[in-house]
Every structure is written in structure tokens, then in C-alpha cells.
């Protein structure tokens, strides 16, 4: 792949982020404060974790639409395992994450063993997992967790929100894996040409199975963090989060056809979206107006990067 064009998209995006940050800090003096920025980091962690795994999935030319439902299912199970089954809370959270990871594994099995296109497979499990969350919860919410549990979603470590450390660690590990390991190169190879990868002796099926499992794990972890942040569980948690994550990934320069994309791009895309959301709400624009702007930014950013490249690569 021509890394120069990659660099160009991310540079362009980073410049856009800087411009947005400057404009927003002029709009409101509350925007460019340490406490506000750290708080925004807290709010973007769940989408961020999912988007990191989604970068790998989309780089192979796949997609995972079921992440929001896995998040909801994990959230519900954390509450149910703890309150209704009576497990200690750490065990309940780990068990719920295990189920969420298994849900991702099932996605991978359907996609690799039955050769169902990822869009359809995860569209079906989107309905299935959300349905399980609704069925298990029967619209009851679980509250009243012990105080220590909120450290994960509301507490701080060394002055920085706890979950932001998790996100940072995940981003660093993921970018090393994607950029510098054989396994990461396999991901790009599958996305560029799956058939050729298979003939080259790469373990396409195993890689994809691992990626969808990892995507399930990321969504499940995000689910537990979500519960800890908002202090309650509801079965509709995480609805639509798959679109937010995909927006961050695609905005970050990952080709929806696969074969291209970086974690750094995804993180810049994520920050850009969160900065816009926050800056506009501080400037008095309602939440729905910001959704509208994010849509426009997504289209314009891809349009601009297409115009910049001008190379014939799709």
C-alpha cells in the first residue's frame, strides 16, 4: 500500500482537528480546560474501544454491526449475574464479558464457517443479541452497585479518568499489533485480496475468527464500563453505537473495502467527533444538531480526502 496517501489523509484529519479545537476554544472559554477535556475522554471511551476493534474488522473488508447489541447484552448480564444469580460483582462482570466475547466468537463462526457475508451475519445477531438482552431483562433495570465499582467509570487514576487509561493502553497495543506484527500485515492482506491471501498460505479463517471475537470482547468491556459510568443497566444501552464507531473508523481513513487503515487515524476521527459534540453543546447547539454536523463532517472529510488523493485506487 502507498503509505504516502495514508499519511496525507491522517495529516489532513489532524489539521482539521486542530482547527476545530481552536475554533471551539474561541466559542466557549469552558471548552479548553483540563477538566472538560478529561471528561470528554471519559465519554468517548466506550465508542473508542469498539472503534479500535472495528478498525481491524473493517481493514479486513468486514463489518460488525452487532457491537451495540453485545454492549447491551453484557450490561444486562452484569446486573443479572450480580443481583439475580448472586455472584460477587467482579465475577459477574467477568462472566458477562466472557458471554459478550463468546457472542463475538459466534459472529466469527457464522462468518467463517458458513461463509455468510459479515454485514448480514452481524445484522442478524444485532437483532438476536438485543433480543436476548430485552428478553433476559424484561425491561427491569439493575441499580445500587457498590461504590468501588464506580471507580471504573466515574473514578480517576493519577488525575486521569480510569477508563481513559484503558483506552490509551488498548490504542497503543492495537496500533503496534496492526502496524508491526505479521498478524497485522495479515489483516491488511485479507482486506486487499482475500483469495490471494488464502493462496499465499495465510490463515484467513483463523484471523477473521479472532478479530470478530476481539470485537465482541471490546464491546463487552465497553458494556461494563458503560454500566459503571451511568450507575445502572438497561437493555437498550449501546443502541446505535455501531454507527458512531464506524463513523470514527471511516473518518479516520480506513477504507470500507478493506486493506487500508490505521489506529492513529481512528483515534483522531474519534477525538474529532467528540470535540464537535462537546464544543457545539457548549456553544448552545442541542445534541441533535451535533449529530447532523457529524454526518456532514463524515461525508465532507471522505469527499475531501478522495479529491486530495486523485489516485485511481478506488
Amino acid at each position: 500500500m502507498n503509505w504516502k496517501s495514508l499519511l496525507r489523509h491522517e495529516t489532513f484529519l489532524a489539521l482539521l482537528l486542530v482547527v476545530v479545537l481552536i475554533v471551539l476554544s474561541f466559542q466557549s472559554d469552558r471548552f479548553f480546560t483540563v477538566s472538560n477535556l478529561l471528561n470528554q475522554g471519559r465519554l468517548m471511551t466506550e465508542i473508542g474501544l469498539i472503534a479500535i476493534a472495528m478498525t481491524f474488522v473493517i481493514a479486513t473488508g468486514g463489518i460488525d454491526l452487532s457491537v451495540g447489541s453485545i454492549l447491551g447484552l453484557t450490561a444486562i448480564l452484569t446486573g443479572v449475574f450480580w443481583q439475580n444469580v448472586g455472584l460477587p460483582l467482579p465475577v459477574a462482570a467477568v462472566a458477562a464479558i466472557a458471554v459478550g466475547t463468546f457472542a463475538g466468537f459466534v459472529n466469527g463462526l457464522i462468518i467463517t464457517r458458513f461463509t455468510v457475508p459479515p454485514l448480514i451475519a452481524t445484522l442478524a445477531t444485532l437483532a438476536l443479541y438485543r433480543g436476548l438482552a430485552e428478553g433476559i431483562s424484561q425491561a427491569r433495570s439493575v441499580r445500587g452497585y457498590p461504590d468501588w465499582f464506580y471507580v471504573l467509570g466515574q473514578g480517576e487514576v493519577l488525575g486521569v479518568p480510569t477508563q481513559l487509561w484503558i483506552l490509551a493502553a488498548a490504542a497503543i497495543i492495537a496500533s503496534i499489533i496492526l502496524a508491526y506484527t505479521r498478524w497485522g500485515r495479515t489483516v491488511y492482506a485479507i482486506g486487499s485480496n482475500e483469495v490471494a491471501s488464502r493462496f499465499s498460505g495465510l490463515s484467513v479463517e483463523k484471523t477473521k475468527l479472532a478479530l470478530y471475537t476481539a470485537s465482541g470482547f471490546a464491546a463487552a468491556l465497553a458494556g461494563v464500563i458503560f454500566v459503571s459510568r451511568v450507575s445502572t443497566t438497561r437493555s437498550d444501552m449501546g443502541t446505535g453505537i455501531e454507527l458512531d464507531a464506524i463513523t470514527a473508523v471511516v473518518l479516520g481513513g480506513t477504507s470500507i473495502f478493506g486493506g487500508r487503515g490505521t489506529i492513529a487515524g481512528t483515534m483522531i476521527g474519534l477525538c474529532l467527533i467528540q470535540a464537535l459534540k462537546n464544543g457545539l453543546s457548549l456553544a448552545g447547539v442541542k445534541g441533535d444538531g451535533t449529530i447532523m454536523l457529524i454526518g456532514a463532517v463524515l461525508i465532507l472529510a471522505i469527499l475531501a480526502s478522495n479529491l486530495f488523493e486523485r489516485s485511481g485506487t478506488r
Binding site: G61, F114, L132, S137, A139, D288, G295, I299
Partner: protein, 331 residues
């Protein structure tokens, strides 16, 4: 999207396959869905005979006709090798426009025509971005989804549109004793199916979805056809809106949740390959009926409504897996 070459099974040129075999080869997935509907009806009827009361049948068929109509356009878009995740938001916007016009005292035909025309205009923009700016359709429509969903709520505040004039509520009327939505669904499905199967335009959509470059090489104006298919899809979304907006006495000016996924799922379960190049609009309508039947059946066999989505998800998965196994057996 990647290119799949679906080779027909080799057989001696002199042997012409029998009618049933050809039917199954052409409409395999549609027949699977149809069989599922029939089995479901038979089983639920035995458990609770009231399931086939005229009242419930009207709810199943007429109440979901708008999804079937929207799925026709979606099937065409997917056959061409694209996708549209913004159709739910579009229908929400169009319903609000239509309802607002009707309440403002405009003649009802304007209130009915407006969503069709606006739907075509919006999708012309989407189609142009896909065809000429070469942005993948999932990215364009993802952006359009955000713009329309956010725009609608920040513009209207999600209020209810009430006091709709009775003449506007076409979905609640009947012609020849049949509910209007049912007539819409059947007529539009049949017309679209014939058009897709026999017109040069319809065949060119399959060619583009199968292999866009080859289609271009054979002289099909791929870019113009791509815009055209999105415009037609917008018209179907507008027609679906007419049924959706007039089925109740009020319209909520928000985006109906998950409608785009329901519409895409209907098209795909009906046998439209997400890779493009194959499938029919008959399948998408049958799949809509299947979902509606499942939803209604669960109520009649006393399953908690909270499990509805899980059951539907499981059935979608079963249908998809069955289809994959069937295709594998054929190849």
C-alpha cells in the same frame, strides 16, 4: 464491493431442466421464505384459530405494507451493489413533511406527492455522491442518516403532528374491500418484479451489481444508472411514507427506530445477495410478510413481547444459514 462470479451448474446443452427445477433455481430463497410463512400460519392456526381472523390478517398485511414497499427500492439498490442505511431517517423526514403539509391545509394530493418528490431529490444527491464522487454508499448513507435524524429532531423537537384531515388518511381506506396498503404492496411488488426481470434497465442493474467494470465495458452507463436506482429507491421510500404517515391519526416527527435495519433485513432475507447482482423484489416482500407473521404469531402463542426480537433474530439467522447451506449444495 467484491465481485462474485456465480457460475451456472454445467449440464448438457440439449437437456432443458424441468419447470420445477428452473423455478427452484430462480426463486429458491423466495420459496424457502414462502414455505416458512405457510408453515408458521399452519402451526399458529392450530394453536389459536383466531390467528386467521380477518382483523388479524389485516394487521399483518396492511400494517406492514410500508416496510415491504420500502424494501422494494432497497432490494434494487442492493442488487446494484450498494446499500442505503438512511432510508429509515428519510421516511421519518418525509412523513413529517407530508403531515405538516396536510395539516397546513394543502390539498391532500400535494401532501401525498411531496414525500415522493422530496425522497427522489434527496436520493438523487446521495446517488450522485456515490456515482460521481465515488464515496462508498455505506459512508454516504451513514452520513445522510446522521444529517436527517439530527436535522429532523432539532428542527421539530420530535413533536406529534395531530389533527390530520380524514381525507389524508389513505392507508385506512379500502378499494374493492381490500385495504389500500395491501393493494399498494401487491401492485408495486408485481410491477417492480416484472420490470426488474424483463426490462433492459432492470437487467442492467443486475449486470452492474454482478460486475460494474464488465457492465461499463458492455456499454451500460453505470454512473447514470446508479443515480437512477437511488432516485427510484427514493420514490419507493416516498410511497412507503404515504402508507406509514397515514396509518394512524397522528405522526410523530422523529425517525422510526431501527426501520432501516428492518428494511435491509427484509431485502436480504428475501434472497437479495448483499454482494449485489442477484435477488428479486418478490423475495423482499415475502420476507416482510414473514417478519410480520412472526411478530403476530408470538402474541397469539403467548410469548412475552420482550422476547420478540430474540425470536426474530434467531429466525433471520436460521434463514441465512439455510440459504448458505442450500447454495453450497447447489454448487
Amino acid at each position: 464491493m467484491s465481485v462474485i462470479v456465480d457460475l451456472p451448474p454445467t449440464r448438457p446443452a440439449t437437456e432443458r431442466p424441468g419447470f420445477l427445477r428452473r423455478l427452484f433455481a430462480d426463486y429458491g430463497q423466495e420459496l424457502v421464505v414462502l414455505a416458512a410463512i405457510i408453515v408458521l400460519f399452519a402451526v399458529v392456526m392450530l394453536v389459536n384459530p383466531r390467528f386467521i381472523s380477518a382483523n388479524n390478517l389485516t394487521t399483518i398485511f396492511a400494517g406492514n405494507a410500508y416496510i415491504a414497499v420500502a424494501a422494494i427500492g432497497m432490494a434494487m439498490v442492493i442488487i446494484t451493489g450498494h446499500i442505503d442505511v438512511s432510508v429509515g431517517a428519510l421516511i421519518g423526514v418525509l412523513a413529517t413533511i407530508s403531515g405538516t403539509l396536510a395539516v397546513a391545509g394543502y390539498p391532500v394530493w400535494i401532501a401525498w406527492l411531496a414525500p415522493v418528490l422530496v425522497g427522489m431529490a434527496v436520493n438523487a444527491c446521495i446517488g450522485a455522491l456515490v456515482a460521481y464522487a465515488r464515496i462508498p454508499s455505506i459512508v454516504v448513507t451513514l452520513g445522510a442518516l446522521s444529517i436527517m435524524r439530527g436535522g429532523l429532531i432539532s428542527f421539530t423537537g420530535g413533536t406529534w403532528i395531530t389533527d390530520l384531515p380524514p381525507a389524508f388518511l389513505i392507508a385506512q381506506k379500502s378499494v374493492f374491500g381490500l385495504p389500500v396498503p395491501l393493494v399498494f404492496m401487491v401492485v408495486l411488488t408485481v410491477l417492480a418484479a416484472l420490470w426488474m426481470r424483463y426490462s433492459a434497465f432492470g437487467r442492467s442493474l443486475y449486470a452492474i451489481g454482478g460486475n460494474a467494470e464488465a457492465a461499463l465495458a458492455t456499454g451500460i452507463p453505470v454512473e447514470r444508472r446508479t443515480v437512477a436506482v437511488f432516485v427510484i429507491h427514493g420514490a419507493f421510500a416516498g410511497l412507503a411514507t404515504i402508507l406509514f404517515a397515514t396509518q394512524l391519526q397522528v405522526i410523530q416527527s422523529t425517525v422510526p427506530p431501527n426501520l432501516e435495519l428492518t428494511v435491509i433485513t427484509a431485502a436480504v432475507i428475501g434472497g437479495v445477495s448483499i454482494l449485489g447482482g442477484s435477488g428479486t423484489v418478490i423475495g423482499s416482500t415475502l420476507a416482510t410478510i414473514l417478519f410480520a407473521t412472526i411478530g403476530s404469531a408470538l402474541i397469539f402463542v403467548n410469548v412475552s413481547a420482550y422476547w420478540l426480537r430474540a425470536v426474530i433474530g434467531l429466525l433471520i439467522l436460521a434463514t441465512v444459514l439455510a440459504d448458505m447451506l442450500r447454495r453450497r449444495g447447489r454448487l
